[in-house]
Symmetry: C3
Subunit: 272 residues, 3 copies
């Protein structure tokens, strides 16, 4: 495969503009810790977020949403049930949905819930290396709670298995990010080591990925574009930050202002 098979940064920029002009409505079933940042990242990127997770309304909301993200960061039984309902509704309606298997591998409850949701054929799965390895059922480093205990490249093989099994595009984020489907592997570089020192930054990326999936008919291109845009914005955000505390606000500012030149100078997409 040649680089030509991968979306370019300019194509990512076109999707970024489409998100801004179309403002897709993204339904978030996500954890308490990352909800606010997830909403702010989506707003800054030009999408319209809504946090809707009650069994009483998830299905009604999927009907009006353009995409859905299901993040298992903070679980409870009624939420799991609503997650399943929403994922099934999205599947039936042919709407793209993203699974973020936070902490998969840390407890049986998380692993089980993540696998149950993965079986519902998410369009895209995004997680850190430990989560993807655990979800794929591969042997590998157990996570440290919700943080990864291994680097992203160790998860590329398990991600391919997972993609073949579920049909999903699998995005692994870390120092270098990877997007994997049955035949392609893209590596995205950018970002900054301060990003994982700020909570919910990965979770918010899952929401952003859903916004891109709402716009693009190609989930692989959507995931690559979302990760490249985020890597560029993260890199811009970290420059001049006084520490990790400044990341959330500066990341939203950077997403809001990101232009083609900023994207080209702060991220790369290459074959892996």
């Amino acid at each position: 495969m040649t680089d030509a098979a991968l979306p370019t940064l300019d194509e990512a920029g076109v999707l970024r503009e489409a998100v801004r002009s179309q403002g897709p409505l993204v339904q978030n079933i996500t954890n308490y810790v990352a909800m606010t940042l997830s909403a702010n990242v989506l707003l800054a990127a030009g999408a319209s977020p809504a946090m809707v997770h009650a069994e009483e309304e998830v299905t009604d909301f999927v009907a009006i949403a353009s995409a859905l993200v299901v993040n298992i960061g903070t679980l409870s039984p009624s939420w799991v049930s609503a997650m399943v309902m929403a994922a099934e509704a999205a599947g039936k309606a042919g709407k793209p949905w993203v699974l973020d298997p936070v902490g998969c591998g840390a407890t049986p409850y998380r692993t089980e819930t993540a696998r149950r949701l993965a079986a519902l054929k998410p369009t895209i799965i995004r997680g850190n290396a430990s989560e993807i390895i655990a979800l794929a059922g591969a042997s590998g480093a157990a996570p440290k709670g919700v943080d990864s205990a291994t680097s992203a490249d160790a998860a590329v093989g398990p991600a391919r298995l997972l993609s073949r099994e579920t049909g999903a595009v699998v995005a692994i984020t870390g120092e270098v990010d990877f997007v994997v489907d049955a035949t392609r592997i893209a590596a995205i570089e950018g970002g900054d080591e301060l990003m994982p020192v700020s909570t919910g930054v990965g979770c918010a990326l899952s929401g952003l990925t859903a916004a891109y999936a709402a716009i693009s008919p190609d989930p692989f291109a959507a995931a690559v574009a979302a990760l490249a845009v985020y890597a560029a914005a993260g890199s811009i955000a970290a420059r001049g930050a006084g520490g990790p505390g400044d990341i959330p606000a500066r990341l939203c500012n950077a997403l809001y202002r990101l232009d083609a030149e900023g994207l080209r100078s702060n991220a790369t997409i290459r074959l892996a």
Copy 2:
């Protein structure tokens, strides 16, 4: 009616000082996304926020609170039940309470819950145009999830109907804000287009409105003052902001520091 029938910015400033000196205890039953900002806005304005929403304690807390805000942004059955209990307790105790019908019109569950609460006679209802139109049962633009799909002035007529039906003062926020009761309409200007690009900013205003309602015997004057103070602080916050990410922190700073001159220079109140 003449402008003389409206509270002035100087009168709003007097209420602002009264909130600071009396520090009213405001009970918040609000959504997960906006809880932190709501608490920070109340603290910055000089009030004392508490997030108390369990059926086991809402009624006990209403007894010690000076005002209550009920925001339906993230619903579940036990929360709805606690909202009803708290609203009824506030009504019985003659304590002011504010209803924020987030996403009313987006799903039947939201619309039903909002109507059920509106029937309990809130002191003030604050929402965006789509929410107020949906709550009034008027025909109008359906919301885009939790975001408004129409401008605030389109909701003035429905707000008047809603005010007559419920007895509540109705505040509609948008590019221009309106406060409506059975006989008066005030328009408040200020703020900035960055404000709706930051999540929870409207929800936090509902909390602030409850703090003002705790201090003023006149809910119309309280709502106008809260909206004017917020418009001025929002305008100050946006000036020099690097993007939407800076709004929450800068808004709290501006509320904390706002003085009479800042209020006069950054907001207007007029007849509409």
Copy 3:
């Protein structure tokens, strides 16, 4: 007792480095308002936070965590049940856990829940003066919702009673902080009056205290060190802040960057 019986700032600095190098996994069962800041404070300090509160997984997670914090800021019955399960599991496993009795004294539900948890022998209890007085069952100023209505020194006597009854080290935070056990009382100074104008700052300190308790075999030294580090970081954070809105980000930056000199210049530990 002489000052020699107290941990020094240099010893606090050694623990701070140990938290950074060992990165303890801290399980948080905490309130919705403070979750994000709690996670960010732990990350900035070098620990690895996880928010895990479902009855279905709390016990499994305690088994892999290095320490636990139980904060009752936003209660509901299933959370209370999970809190009890987690505290019992931590006790059995001999893992340190911190109780933060938010709003104890404000409603019977809170007071009861806090007492039920205190009976499970937390390693450290951290609260404001009103909460500690209410938890000790002493007569004293009732809280104003979740804010203290009295100064920290008024709670030193009740804290000693509480320490004797539960075996816990008791930390009272306010303008001056106190750490109390059966025989010692340390006073920690630093911080800034802007800190309580930002929500969740006290709750996040409870999480940080758990991280220090995970590292040190002496809970008294752990509590003193955590409070001194936080006081220094808070003092640095407030310097140059534009208002309370800047505190969360600047506090995380200061924790991330704090060195021995910054600790020595911005906090004091003395006998009380």
